[in-house]
Symmetry: C2
Subunit: 312 residues, 2 copies
């Protein structure tokens, strides 16, 4: 899948973390986590031009960096700083439908100040993971002329740094958020109206990730909706949204264009990668997938959603 000359370079700026996950399948301490871990691995199935800019601490196992390197991900922008790796602890409800944060230790992430190398400044597709919108803007301003800037954010920034976030959004093409974040940002419960408001804030596309209710895309090409694939075994929803983002960005790189139809297909590729991610803990669901397995899962979405038109 990686041989297409159209492949566009992707820069991912986000977190590389260690997670403690508790839930119906027991306690799993010190799992590899963080948005950039999921996004880069999901994207790397579609392009060999993925770079990550992030920071880890002295306690971060080198094997994960070696693995990323072996997957063809450019890790030259992952700095190892003096201190502890960002560490998140969460507990899921028995039915995995909700979770609570037990502990967040920012560690070296607290003073993360992304500085882009020349290679990274030239990235064609930029994904700004969920960090301080001031830093996100700073990253955009370091880039030279990306064809697409995508951004993820969360309630903490929408509520706490709204003015900065709005300023950053003016430089963003695609916003990827969940439904509650979209509602909070737009100050509007109705998702269609909320998306319309967000499209006036800067982005030309809004992707709303809704977990097991699927995902919606609002853009110039209209509205697109995809249900989640009903899965038999869901073990760990952590990283589902990031895996979606990785598949989405990876496919945009692979396709080499940003046509409305391409963005729709990218939504399905994103859904495909998210469906793999939730079946196992950490990034395990994204490990060792073949082109055939990804194709088959994509085709399951085609089969899931196809229906005949009628002429009344």
């Amino acid at each position: 899948m990686k041989t297409r000359s159209a492949n566009r370079s992707i820069l991912i700026v986000g977190s590389v973390a260690l997670d403690d996950i508790d839930g119906p399948f027991g306690k799993h301490p010190d799992l590899l986590g963080g948005s950039a871990s999921f996004i880069s691995r999901a994207a790397a199935y579609f392009t060999d031009k993925v770079s990550v800019v992030a920071v880890v601490g002295h306690d971060f196992p080198s094997q994960y960096l070696t693995e990323m390197d072996a997957l063809g991900i450019d890790i030259s922008g992952i700095e190892r700083a003096d201190g502890s790796t960002f560490h998140w602890s969460g507990k899921y409800s028995d039915d995995l439908s909700s979770r609570e944060t037990l502990d967040t230790r920012l560690g070296v992430f607290a003073t993360f100040q992304p500085k882009l190398a020349a290679l990274h400044k030239r990235a064609e597709l930029v994904f700004l993971g969920n960090i301080d919108p001031v830093l996100q803007l700073d990253v955009v301003e370091q880039t030279e002329a990306p064809v697409l800037v995508a951004l993820d954010t969360m309630n903490f920034w929408i509520g706490g740094k709204r003015a900065d976030l709005l300023k950053t959004l003016r430089k963003v093409h695609t916003l990827l958020v969940n439904d509650e974040e979209a509602r909070q940002l737009a100050e509007e419960h109705n998702l269609r109206k909320a998306a319309a408001r967000i499209l006036k804030m800067g982005p030309s596309s809004v992707v709303i990730k809704r977990g097991d209710a699927g995902a919606l895309l609002f853009h110039g090409g209209g509205v697109f909706g995809v249900p989640a694939l009903p899965l038999e075994d869901v073990r760990d929803p952590t990283g589902a949204g990031d895996s979606f983002a990785g598949g989405f960005m990876g496919y945009l790189s692979y396709a080499g264009n940003l046509e409305p139809a391409t963005i729709r297909t990218a939504m399905i590729v994103g859904s495909t990668m998210a469906s793999f991610a939730v079946e196992k803990f950490s990034v395990d669901g994204l490990r060792g997938l073949t082109s055939e397995a990804i194709q088959q899962r994509f085709d399951a979405f085609t089969e899931l959603t196809k229906f005949d038109s009628i002429r009344l």
Copy 2:
């Protein structure tokens, strides 16, 4: 749309009620409600062979019966009994995402004991609205040889009359429930596993209605999923599931077969009719729709969900 000779007759047994609705758009007392009111009106757009068996009280406005008759719905099975019409009062949250029941007065519905006339016994498609499963079974046993029996139920019966419901389900082809009801019936949170369990209880198809998360169908033809159409104006979700059921059954009558592809299309027609219903109060959203309007809304689902396949 009503001229196809293949049209199959539909019998709907359910409630015809008066509702008091409170919510973000103010108080609306004494609205026409009840499952059979929505189902029959939605179905009547697709077939002229809709019969309703229900009961109303002395206080039920005759104009609603006159209207049903004018729509070509057979109301000979709607009995006017001595007492008050079933009356439900509910209050929606400001964002319409949840509701609480303020009052339920069963009135004449408390002693409803459906007795089918000869015409109704011969119905080809039977829809058993959400009533006591003992009565639902009694209705099925009165029918002669329906090609499809569909059933709706609720938490009250799943919890309180489980054994009776399970007995009834053995005579049912299609179960239509919401996600919480499916989980409660199957005693399983995972919807795919829950559907698999329900398919062992008798039905050969399970339709799971998920409100603004769309709907899922599990049957021999695999899994089918449709997102809800994101609507600009939602005023009253009451009757959305019943309008879905009406469109679903109406299209099955119209198509004249029960092929897997037909059932998928019926899911879209159901979603279409539900999308009209929630835009206005009571059955107003289902009033006066043209074939063109229904076709256009159906096409909006095609447009919402279409995407190109990929070959990796």
